[in-house]
């Protein structure tokens, strides 16, 4: 079974690294972590994702733009906010969003 692809966007490199590591600990998930909106758009165009996780530092303006562009590209994309910075909430947020 192919892994669920997750795109993670966060402005703080070390926190992003932690979130990526924690998500990839789950054998069913595979994630790509990016810092800028431009990297996010490029990553999103490069392969299909099931879920986008918005992490720290993403401003409301960026979030609105990211959501609009992603939805234009894939109306079914799931986009959720991650709170806590790679915390104990991460797994539950993803599982809830995926409905698994």
């Amino acid at each position: 079974m192919s892994k669920i692809q997750i795109l993670i966007i966060g402005r703080h490199p070390e926190i992003l690294q932690t979130v990526v590591r924690l998500v990839n600990n789950n054998p069913d998930w595979e994630c790509t972590g990016v810092i800028t909106d431009e990297e996010a758009f490029a990553a999103f165009a490069a392969k299909p994702y099931r879920l986008v996780l918005l992490c720290n530092g993403v401003t409301p303006e960026s979030e609105e733009k990211l959501r609009r562009v992603f939805r234009q590209h894939d109306p079914g994309i799931i986009i959720v906010q991650h709170y806590g910075g790679g915390s104990g909430l991460l797994s539950a947020e993803i599982r809830q969003a995926l409905g698994v």
């Binding site: 966060g10 926190i15 806590g84 910075g85």
Partner: protein, 238 residues
Amino acid sequence: MAQTTLHKAGTRGHANHGWLNSYHTFSFANYYNPERMHFGALRVLNDDTVDAGMGFGTHPHDNMEIISIPLEGDLEHKDSMNNVAVIKNGDIQVMSAGTGIYHSEYNKDRAHRVKFLQIWVYPNQLNVEPRYDQITLKAEDRHNKLQQILSPNAGDEGVWIYQNAWFHLGQFDKGLSTTYNLKAKGNGVYVFVLSGDIKVNDQILNIRDGYGIWDTDSFTIAAESNAEFLLMEVPMQI
């Protein structure tokens, strides 16, 4: 009419990592229960016991209001804002993680365990500048009355957070009762029993039970035995 939800102590998630024994009221880490995700803006209520000499290594947080209330023993806190502090029973610590913070928490005592509540509240502002604060509470200020320990206002009693939330502690002698009036429309209160037995309206609660109540302006709390409890008023919409 008031709406309620009851979480008996024994129904909480549980993880025993050896050095850390933790009970989760809401889904956390490997405990996942879609029916137990949060109570309004209250997202985490962990009831942690840390072995002597052990603790949480440096780890990140962001965009969360994190409140720690030690119930027994001392916990040393170090963070990326150069704060080094020891929080002990009777203190309350708050961190607004905002754009990102790293911290560690250790029980430096080689002989005694630490018991503390770890409470996370969704913030009402994202990406704020991280901040840290701790204060020592006066135990006599909650004996047979409610002691405000947290609010949204920097000038108010207790610590403050980026959320329209108010926390109170009470240590009531058997037979004492009071009425809690909610501070804000649209808020609910999560009651958590620290010791003894209490009655919230008609609902009996025992040690470590949790009880959420909302769609009401007030409710009564009566001590069925000598009891300590924590009230967490938070917005129900996030």
